[in-house]
Amino acid sequence: MKQLTKSFILMLMFFSLNSFAQNSDGKFQTGVKKGLEILKSSRVSDDFLKVSNYFERIAQAEPKEWLPPYYAAYGELLAGLTISDKALQDQYFDKALLAIDQANNLSAENSEIFALKGYIQFMKMSIDPQARLSFMSAAAASLGKAKALDPDNPRIYLINGQNTFYTPEAFGGGKAKAKPILENAVTKFAIFKPSSTIAPTWGSDRAEELLAQCN
């Protein structure tokens, strides 16, 4: 009986320790994973806003983690990309920029953050290209920084290729110029290993889709 009680206590202790561990580390992982699941099933602008809201909530509870504001920015960006109202787009992209800067404050010199920032800046420019040429060079600078920090990050090449794809030929863009960049992106995606199960992995499908359009 005493043995039984002992083993019961040990078992309980083990359980409680385990649940304790899950509460600090596992909770964050699970939380982010859940958000990424919602992201996967999102289709329309409102869905992406809800994803962004979700990550904003995790961000305020986990003020030291850069992934929640990163994904909040990504959600806000996608919400802008899936709506046609330019005034709203502009506001979503502004929010995305704020969130990505928040991520940058938590994790300096992070290639993923600079890559996404370059994406958002390019979209800011695209709303009114003539009046916002300055965003074009800002986007190029962010992507350059991202590349300097980690040349193996495939998203840099996807975003670069995509920006080139949508830039008129006259301004140094076009399908022909985008093609080799996107090919490089596809190659890099094939060998890319995310640093954790919740680190950014998005973009591989998009790279292949755009590359198909180049041919």
Partner: protein, 702 residues
């Protein structure tokens, strides 16, 4: 010992079976409309949700105790309530207040035309200014297509709302520029000295401007220089009129730019017949150096210096003795230095300090007489701004100008020197986000005139709808008489009072504006027989319209401006009150730009019309009652974007007056009044071709 595991077990069971709290409710705006996608956050937990399209929300939490529930939504103020989670369900009816959206906030705008990239209220971008057809990237020429400004091809400067060119002052980062134009040829307008590409923004005030700016009777042109360039690049320009090179070197927190240019108009003048017979077509060397340093996250130090030399000599028709054309030569050298520093001090204060030095020296022959003329200006200025409330601010500051001219004609010499000191204070008071009041005042003392002045300035803006605004401005403006009179005599300040009423609608991609004004001039300089005094006066009134649309036409935009001007003045050598020669009653411009993707080319066209200008006919007893025929001009530009030697290149063509309208600026009469000579543009048509290349960047940065 047995109790411990039991307790643990119980706690665990409790935690699992603890009754969740359901929180539900709605988020509505204070007006009662549902707010979708609002973020409901239980602070410091992962729990929360978003509202649906009807503003409803619902979520559950296992937390217990008191928590803060925060709710936020785009364009609304973030707010929070305390909730007690020891209940089974909580129902909340949350209300959110609209947040202050800067784009929808009222602004000070009566009299102002703001241009710049992404600036609030900006109607033209920096690139618009540089690429308007017919202007060859000259800021002053581009501004002549905006309401309020006259077209002037035979006199330098901006003639605004019945004011002379001397009544418009140019400010470079807040510092007064004394000699903003290149050396002048008789009867011809010259370009602005400073490149349009130095500036990211321009505010053109046709009246009613801030107390920060003084010594301008009619108009203030405020140029704001660019910040750090993104990259290290080299720019090369090769035009039919000259060549230029500049090198921008970007460091981590600073940038250095060095540039040089050489212009020679003789090849162009060999092809396009000129009004004058040139002995030496205009030839200009100039060099500049600029250093910018970001001293902190919010601080910026800038210094810019430029030096230029121009040489011209020509024969001008002599109406009195046609056999003896008049000789004129001019050698000009100009040095200009501008340095500014700005920094935020804490959360509420901003410091702006600046220094500038401008010296322009001319020397040459006028017929057989040798003349010299040197204009100098040193300007120092400090401004402190205090920010309060969400939008309001209060600024105050002081500045001093040391200004003067010395001139000589053969053995005769004269000159004057004046120290003008000024203090100013001004507040932009946002009574609500829809109503703003600007109250300002400026006091000046001139050591040469030995006179004080005190100028009140006020402006009011009222948002009448989401996109529309009504504005009013009143201000009094003082200016020293022009140098050519001051070298002769100590006079008094000239005065103008402006009253402006504006209504505007600003929609995304479309701007409409109508502005009416009345201006009263007093104490204008008057030339009396053998004397000068300040007995001149005058008035100007008018209505102006502006419409810009970059929404309707894909890859294209256009703007239309119209000015009606009714003005008379009695000044200088006028025998009576009359409409001056620089005032056309009707002026209209249409500027259109279209980017054609297939051929990677931007095409621009500008058409300008101005009704006839008054001129003095000594044979007509009524002074200034003759009118020239109306002015018409159609100009075209083509900018083809391409790559040369793998470097981004723009091939450029600008043609002025392509249809060859015969335009007349006025007439000069012989002394006996029997014969006259038309004052014409330097040439009927004008053409510039060239290329601009950027090395070190795949995108066009110039």
């Amino acid at each position: 010992m047995k109790l411990l595991p039991l307790t643990l077990l119980l706690t665990l069971i409790c935690a699992i079976t603890h009754a969740q709290t359901k929180i539900s409710g709605t988020v509505l705006s204070v007006k009662g409309t549902p707010v979708a996608n609002a973020n409901i956050t239980l602070k410091n937990t992962y729990d929360g949700t978003s509202t649906d399209s009807t503003g409803r929300f619902e979520f559950s939490t296992t937390e217990t105790g008191r928590y803060i529930l925060q709710f936020s939504a785009l364009n609304f103020e973030t707010d929070s309530v305390q909730v007690d989670l020891n209940q089974k369900s909580i129902i909340l009816d949350l209300k959110v207040k609209p947040s202050v959206n800067l784009l929808e906030t009222v602004s000070i705008s009566a009299g102002y035309f703001i241009t710049g990239d992404g600036k609030k209220g900006a109607v033209l971008t920096a690139l618009d200014i540089a690429t308007t057809a017919g202007t060859n990237a000259d800021v002053f020429a581009a501004l002549q297509t905006l309401p309020g400004a006259q077209t002037s091809f035979s006199e330098s400067g901006l003639f605004v709302r019945g004011g002379s060119a001397a009544e418009t002052k140019t400010y470079f980062d807040g510092m007064l520029l004394k000699s903003p134009f290149n050396a002048t040829v008789p009867d011809q307008a010259s370009r602005g000295r400073l490149s349009a590409f130095l500036f990211k923004g321009t505010s053109f005030a046709a009246g009613g401007y801030s107390a920060q700016y003084g010594q301008a009777l009619s108009s203030a042109l405020m140029l704001e220089s660019t910040d750090l360039p993104e990259k290290t690049t080299t720019g090369i320009s090769a035009l039919s009129v000259g060549v230029g090179v500049d090198q921008n070197i970007r460091f981590k927190n600073s940038a250095l730019s060095i540039g040089g240019s050489y212009y020679n108009l003789s090849p162009t003048y060999g092809i396009l017949k000129q009004q004058h017979t040139y002995v030496k077509a205009p030839e200009q060397f100039s060099g500049s150096i600029q250093y910018k340093h970001k001293t902190s996250a919010t601080g910026m130090f800038k210094i810019y210096g430029t030096y230029g030399e121009t040489k011209i000599s020509l024969y001008q028709d002599n109406i009195d003795t046609p056999a003896l054309p008049k000789f004129f030569s001019n050698n000009n050298n100009n040095i200009y230095i501008n340095s500014t520093y700005k920094e935020y001090l804490g959360n509420h204060w901003k410091l702006d300090a600046g220094f500038s030095y401008d010296r322009s020296a001319d020397e040459g022959l006028q017929s057989a007489a040798h003349y010299t003329r040197t204009d100098k200006l040193t300007n120092g200025k400090t401004t402190l701004t205090y920010y309060f409330g969400k939008l309001s601010n209060f600024k105050f500051g002081a500045e001093t100008f040391n200004t003067g001219r010395t001139e000589s004609l053969d053995d005769l010499a004269r000159g004057y020197r004046d120290q003008v000191s000024a203090v100013f204070a001004e507040t932009d008071l946002f009574l609500t986000s829809k109503l703003v009041l600007r109250l300002g005042t400026r006091g000046e003392y001139s050591s040469y005139l030995k006179k004080y002045n005190l100028a009140p300035r006020t402006s009011l803006g009222l948002k009448t709808g989401l996109r529309s605004q009504l504005s009013f401005a009143y201000g009094r403006f003082y200016q020293n008489p022009e140098d050519e009179y001051l070298v002769m005599k100590r006079l008094n300040f000239e005065i103008a009072d402006h009253y402006i009423l504006t209504y505007e609608i600003n929609r995304p991609g479309q701007n409409f504006r109508i502005e009416g004004y009345y201006k009263a001039y007093t104490q204008l300089t008057k030339i009396q027989p053998d004397n000068l005094d300040n007995s001149g006066s005058g008035y100007a009134r008018g209505v102006e319209l502006f419409w810009k649309d970059k929404k309707t036409i894909k890859n294209g935009d256009y703007y239309i401006s119209y000015s009606f001007l009714d003005t008379k003045r009695d000044f200088r050598d006028f025998p009576t009150l009359a409409t001056p020669s620089f005032a056309a009653k009707h002026t209209a411009s249409v500027a259109y730009k279209q980017f054609i993707e297939g051929i990677q080319t931007q095409v621009g066209a500008t058409y300008t019309f101005a009704s006839g200008r008054p001129y003095v006919n000594p044979n007509n007893p009524v002074y200034l009652s003759d009118r020239t025929k109306s002015f018409n001009s159609l100009s075209l530009t083509l900018s083809h974007l391409t790559h040369l030697f793998k470097q981004f290149t723009v091939l450029y063509l600008n043609a002025n007056n392509v249809t060859g309208f015969n335009n007349v600026y006025g007439y000069a009469y012989s002394n006996d009044g029997l014969s006259r000579r038309a004052i014409l543009p330097s040439s009927k048509r004008n053409l510039i071709v060239g290329m601009l290349m950027t090395i070190g960047d795949s995108t066009f940065v110039r």
